[in-house]
């Protein structure tokens, strides 16, 4: 390396250290959000330049001369060598979802420090590594899925466990995202109208694409985006109308029923009519909004109002109960490490990679971009006054059932807030109230609206920005909901097809309806439980989702470590084993706490006992049953993942001690005939 470059990297290192020192050591005075961005930028730069290069060169030995499946199996459909930047954008659009926005907002109850550190360290040493190695291993196996790799490299049991883990995470994920939408839209005529309008807008786009201008997706998406903006303006008008506002003011239970019906319809309707156009529209809005948010933060350079650490690190937080360890690490999944990404890294992306060497940029690099989205969400949440943040994000069961009780409780904690301040804030964003809007989406929308209105348009348009942010998140979430329900339906059809072949026919309507209903009932059960939970639902469901997601990452890292060992790279197995060990510690601690903690706010069984011992209510038996079932689901998941961990560890030991031959099931080497870089464009 030349002297100039060495000096440059030393400067980046010093700046990063300074930024970390500032965010970690500054106490009692607000700091600029730019320090978080500086720490993030330097961590990513150093991580990419040095750690990912080490992984690429020493651990994985990327081979630019080896033909990828995109080259060998090119068919113009799934397999297609594609420019690395295009694959990067494609991969990022697939991995970015509502998770990195919601998780950091919820974890902000501990202060900005723990969440930010976890997002940065977790991404550089965990999430990016996972995405990178799984992508490469899939590329070396003709684009095989995580489940197939688990079955072939670890064992049949591992493959089955991976399948169950994926299905479980999907069910819990769908329930959680549905609950976030319900909490964001309840008693909000503006939000309900705007989000409701995205359904006919998607249908209009489907018609435009299929009939009017076939294949002009960008055009249709731009048209859809304009329609959505009009729907936001229409929502404002509706919310001011005396007659129509009442029609669109819906309770949580009504919204839940509507979303359940929608989920079923979206799974059973033709793809072109609703799912595909909504997916395009959502991606269009997503990429645009993330870019605007980044620009907004850089322009405004907001000050963080939340302290670095709050008193809630002891586990008494009102947003969700649980100590900093392990709950901060399962609450923030997608921004740091997310098992879900391993499904995408072993899905469409490996079939587009033109050269093995590009897996570094696509796998490691796209996860860094996702992590940056998580940092921006943390900034958005922490720019709010802490009192307002807690008033929005706390459930009525945690801070008192009325606004007066809530502000008294929150102020008593040292985060002063008044009912009139909250009324003013609600009026500024065009809502009747912002109390008890749990789930993270409204708090993120508030922070984002504040940043946007400070940089574009001022306070007069804060309401528009707020509802734009709500629409953006809800659109994301509905896309996850309908795509997820359909994917879970396909998986279920595939599994049931082994028992009774007709059920495996994906276009057979009785099978479609039965499996769609089974999937929807499964997530609707969790959703309903969340709606009826006086503690806010998110309190119990988000940790369960986090546990599922991180358990899936555990499965992915088990597969990755096994392949490394079988490749004869046991001396480098620490690169995947270290994040794996951390995840096992985190997920198992969290799962055991969720099941057995004596604190009824954390432990599901303790909560069931507390309810049973309390006053008799009509739904007592159901609530006790719900808690016990959640505990069983949680327990079952850790047993399943224990099986895969033990099976993997047995393979490692046998290979390292020479009792088993180290052979990997990868496609034999074929020399690439492609030029150095794929012709552009």
């Amino acid at each position: 390396m030349k002297t100039g470059k060495i000096l440059l990297w030393i400067c980046i290192g010093i700046l990063g250290a300074l930024a970390f020192a500032t965010i970690a050591l500054r106490r009692g005075e607000p700091i600029s959000a730019m320090w978080l961005l500086a720490a993030a930028g330097c961590s990513y730069a150093l991580g990419y330049r040095f750690y990912s290069k080490f992984l690429a060169a020493r651990v994985l030995s990327l081979d630019g001369q080896r033909a990828t499946p995109a080259e060998r199996l090119e068919n113009g459909r799934d397999y297609m060598p594609t420019n690395k930047w295009v694959v990067f954008g494609h991969h990022f659009a697939a991995i970015a979802g509502p998770g990195p926005l919601v998780g950091p907002v919820l974890a902000a109850q501990f202060g900005y420090l723990p969440g930010t550190l976890w997002i940065l360290v977790g991404a550089v040493f965990g999430g990016c590594v996972q995405d990178f190695v799984i992508l490469l291993f899939s590329v070396r196996r003709d684009g095989k899925s995580l489940g197939q790799m688990a079955r072939e490299e670890v064992g049949k049991t591992a493959g089955t466990v991976a399948f169950i883990a994926v299905l479980s995470i999907l069910i819990v994920l769908l329930a959680v995202v549905a609950l976030i939408i319900v909490n964001a839209l309840k008693d909000s005529p503006w939000g309900v109208f705007t989000i409701g309008m995205t359904i006919p807008i998607a249908v209009l786009m489907g018609w435009y694409l299929r009939r009017l201008r076939p294949g002009r997706v960008l055009e249709a998406s731009a048209l859809g985006f304009i329609c959505v903006l009009l729907a936001i303006l229409g929502g404002q008008w509706i919310s001011h109308s005396h007659t129509l506002a009442g029609v669109f003011t819906l309770s949580a239970t009504t919204l839940a029923v509507l979303i359940i019906v929608y989920g079923f319809a979206a799974s059973a309707l033709p793809v072109w009519l609703l799912l595909a156009p909504r997916d395009y529209l959502s991606t269009f809005v997503k990429l645009g909004t993330v870019a605007i948010l980044a620009i907004g933060i850089i322009l405004v350079r907001p000050t963080l109002q939340m302290p670095a650490l709050t008193r809630f690190v002891d586990g008494s937080g009102p947003v969700f109960a649980g100590n900093l360890f392990p709950f901060a690490f399962i609450t923030i999944a997608c921004g740091a490490i997310s098992g879900f990404h391993s499904l995408i890294s072993s899905g469409t992306t490996p079939k587009l990679i033109a050269r093995e060497t590009q897996t570094r940029m696509v796998g490691y690099g796209a996860m860094m971009a996702e992590s940056l989205v998580g940092v921006m969400a943390m900034i958005a949440a922490c720019t709010l006054q802490p009192g307002a943040y807690f008033a929005v994000n706390s459930g009525a069961g945690m801070v008192g059932g009325t606004p007066a009780a809530a502000v008294a409780t929150i102020s008593q904690w040292g985060f002063p807030v008044t009912a009139s301040q909250m009324s003013t804030l609600a009026a500024a964003v065009g809502e009747k109230t912002l109390f008890f809007r749990t789930g993270g989406a409204p708090a993120f929308a508030l922070g984002m609206a504040k940043i946007f209105s400070d940089s574009l348009g001022g306070a007069t348009v804060m309401a528009l920005w707020y509802h734009f942010a709500i629409m953006f998140e809800a659109l994301f979430i509905l896309t996850v909901l309908d795509a997820g329900t359909r994917v879970a339906r396909f998986m279920l059809q595939d599994a049931l097809g082994h028992i009774w072949p007709p059920m495996g026919r994906t276009s057979w309507y009785p099978s479609i309806l039965t499996t769609s209903a089974l999937v929807v009932v499964a997530w609707a059960w969790f959703l309903w439980q969340g709606i009826r939970d006086p503690l806010g639902g998110i309190n119990s469901l988000w940790p369960l989702f986090g546990i599922c997601n991180q358990l899936l990452a555990t499965v992915a890292l088990c597969v990755a470590t096994t392949i490394l060992v079988k490749m004869g790279r046991a001396r480098y197995m620490w690169t995947t084993l270290a994040p794996l060990a951390w995840l096992i510690a985190v997920t198992f601690s969290a799962a055991l706490a969720k099941i057995f903690s004596p604190n009824p706010l954390i432990g599901l069984l303790a909560h069931a006992r507390a309810i049973a011992a309390g006053p008799a209510t009509a739904d007592l038996a159901r609530r006790v049953f719900n808690d016990r079932l959640d505990a069983v689901v949680c327990g079952l998941l850790i047993v399943l993942v224990s099986v895969i961990v033990v099976e993997s560890a047995t393979v490692w030991t046998n290979v390292i001690t020479g009792r088993r031959l180290a052979t990997v099931v990868e496609t034999p080497f074929v020399a690439s005939k492609m030029p150095e870089e794929v012709a552009w464009p």
Binding site: G76, D78, F88, P214
Partner: protein, 83 residues
């Protein structure tokens, strides 16, 4: 060569450098726009449809889009969207 001629030569060199850097900047911007456009076309399946048209020799039409969509149905419907 007198001082005036040297000065004029240097100015011509400066102009040439400026023109070169402008051309380079323009080319870089063009490349960035092309990359963004190509990403958007790939993400939104427009490139996939174009490949389908090239592969089958069909014209852009309702029928060809329908058959392209039907071909892509399985991968579209089972496409994971991350949380």
């Amino acid at each position: 060569m007198n001082a005036q001629q040297v000065g004029a030569g240097l100015m011509r060199n400066d102009d040439a450098t400026q023109v070169n850097s402008k051309v380079r900047l323009k080319a870089s911007l063009r490349r960035v726009v092309m990359i963004l456009r190509a990403i958007a076309r790939e993400v939104f399946d427009e490139a996939a449809y174009q490949r389908y048209l090239d592969r089958t020799g069909c014209e852009r039409s309702k029928e060809s889009y329908r058959s392209f969509f039907n071909e892509r149905l399985a991968s579209l419907a089972s496409k994971f969207r991350c949380c």
